[in-house]
């Protein structure tokens, strides 16, 4: 094969702005993830089953107990944002498995040998996790409509809910990436993932308010990122729902958590290969 006119030199390198570069790389990674998701969206539907069970079965039954103080809203309405947050957590916490899979396939090697910044590789995963979270939120909205839960339909509230969900997904996906970098094997990851999800869920305000927890659990709940996600969603999603900390503080705390986790993940990502 002759292709004499092809240029033999490496592409001329223009050093662009770091922010622009990270942006381009992040969305290159996220774009690929989302193409894969839309090519095979079964995952989105199977993920909808668990929240349906929680709301339709657990929620309907517990609505009759009336032992849990939920202010002036029904228990079902109270727990809906909690179940949304839970489904976000359960989906995102297993992202690390996919990364370990990519490591075993050599994909991570190729990404790390490319000039892409490590932080872009981490943010790319986070952005796609955020997007998947938004898709789940849409499904939960549909379930909530079917159950006649009073939703706040004002666009600003919807946007706030979706933004909170995206941020929460990004947090748990990045946390998951950190665990993947530490354990490096699918088997160990599955074990740790299982061990983490339920405690994070029960030590949060997802299905009961923090006020009725014993003192030690309150402490755990306050350092649990899920608590802030649920609190943010509860104030925005449901008519009459109240946020304890306020949407701005919840989101502020989540942003800080996300920045810290991303920095750690970017440092650990290259160690995935060792």
């Amino acid at each position: 094969m002759t292709s004499a006119r092809l240029e033999a030199q490496p592409a001329a390198w223009v050093e662009p702005n770091v922010v622009v570069e990270v942006w381009r790389e992040t969305f290159a990674i996220a774009n690929v993830e989302l193409r894969k998701l839309f090519r095979d969206p079964t995952e989105l539907f199977t993920r909808a089953i668990q929240p349906v069970l929680w709301l339709v079965v657990f929620g309907q039954v517990f609505s009759r107990v009336r032992g849990i103080p939920t202010g002036n809203i029904s228990y079902l309405a109270f727990m809906t944002p909690g179940i949304l947050a839970q489904s976000v957590l359960f989906a995102a916490i297993f992202y690390g498995i996919a990364v370990i899979w990519e490591r075993d396939l050599g994909i991570v090697h190729k990404l790390l040998v490319s000039p892409a910044k490590r932080i872009s590789l981490v943010l790319g995963k986070a952005v796609s996790a955020g997007f998947r979270g938004v898709m789940q939120a849409i499904i939960i909205y549909l379930i909530a409509i079917a159950l006649h839960i009073a939703i706040r339909w004002a666009p600003l509230h919807i946007v706030a809910v979706l933004a909170g969900v995206a941020l929460g997904s990004a947090i748990f996906a990045t946390f998951s990436l950190i665990i993947a970098c530490i354990v490096k094997s699918r088997e160990r990851f599955m074990g740790i993932g299982q061990v983490l999800t339920m405690p994070l869920f029960f030590a949060s305000n997802a299905i009961y308010p923090i006020a009725i927890m014993p003192a030690w659990l309150k402490v755990v709940a306050l350092v649990n990122p899920l608590t802030y996600l649920v609190d943010a969603l509860r104030g925005q999603m449901i008519v009459g729902g109240e946020s304890v900390h306020g949407f701005a503080s919840d989101v502020g705390i989540m942003i800080v958590i996300f920045v810290v986790l991303s920095a750690i993940a970017a440092r650990l990502y290259p160690t995935l290969l060792r």
Partner: protein
């Protein structure tokens, strides 16, 4: 950007890869032991050795995936520790495993590489088309990679690795698990890459035919050091008139290439084999 005669890079002064007492230890284990090695520009250079000889660790250090414990190395003139991002922009890498993403099309795999290597938007399409044509994959660009054969995946990976015109291309066991026809096609494409773009190509291999037919020069690694270095013909002649590369290998590493093999290598080979179906 001026068009450059492919011979310019081949005859370029200095070395594409140059290591000085390059060392990597894991606790007590010395994986690479004061390695001194020079690869001139434009060569196809083979790194041979039994499993555990330090080939993969060497490649990982040269591609900036691993920091050396001591010593230094330059790739395309850039120090691997002081200037890792310049090294990354100057090299291409094809891992041992068939690592193209099966859930994406060939073009999508290439587009991701083009973006990560900062190829300007306007150049992406023509370069992707060119790389597909170069690797004989033009008709398959829109198909999902999971429908590709092993040889096609490997050629797609070469297409990914050539998109940004690296000066040095690293390949870890480039033809492992491929059938003989696919293997020869990969060799031909590697020769074309060297001929048309003046790329320096560094491969690790276990395959004596590959070492013999493809490589200009070989370094036989044993216990983290270079036990023998030279052109395939020289290495064979040095041992006797009838000697084969297998004999050379056995002579310098004290065993046959078939022996040994860590669990990890076996597992990787198996996973490659299972992906090939």
């Amino acid at each position: 950007m001026a068009s450059v005669d492919s011979t310019t890079l081949v005859g370029r002064p200095g070395f594409a890869v140059e290591t000085e007492a390059l060392t990597k230890t894991y606790g007590d284990l010395v994986a690479v032991d004061h390695l001194n090695c020079r690869v001139p520009y434009g060569q196809i250079f083979g790194l041979l050795g039994p499993n555990g000889a330090g080939k993969s660790t060497t490649i990982k250090m040269l591609t900036t995936l691993l920091d050396p414990t001591s010593g230094s190395a330059k790739v395309a003139g850039f120090d691997i520790v002081a200037a890792p991002s310049q090294v990354r922009r100057s090299i291409g890498y094809v891992p041992q495993m068939l690592s193209a993403d099966g859930a994406l099309t060939g073009e999508e795999n290439l587009l991701l590489s083009a973006k990560l290597y900062a190829i300007p938007r306007a150049e992406r399409k023509p370069r992707i088309a060119e790389a597909l044509a170069f690797m004989g994959l033009t008709d398959f660009g829109r198909r999902l990679v999971k429908t590709y054969s092993g040889g096609m995946i490997r050629r797609l990976e070469l297409a990914q690795a050539m998109l940004h015109r690296p000066m040095v291309l690293f390949l870890d066991e480039p033809t492992i698990g491929l059938d003989p026809v696919a293997r020869h096609t990969v060799w031909d494409r590697l020769r074309d890459l060297r001929h048309n773009f003046g790329m320096t190509i560094l491969i690790t291999t276990h395959d004596m035919d590959e070492a013999d037919e493809l490589c200009d020069e070989l370094a036989l690694m044993h216990r983290g050091q270079i036990a023998a270095l030279g052109k395939p013909a020289e290495l064979k002649a040095g041992l006797g008139p009838e000697a084969t590369l297998d004999d050379v290998f056995a002579h310098f590493s004290g065993g046959s290439i078939q022996e040994g093999g860590s669990y990890r290598d076996i597992r990787q080979t198996r996973s490659t084999a299972s992906r090939l179906g």
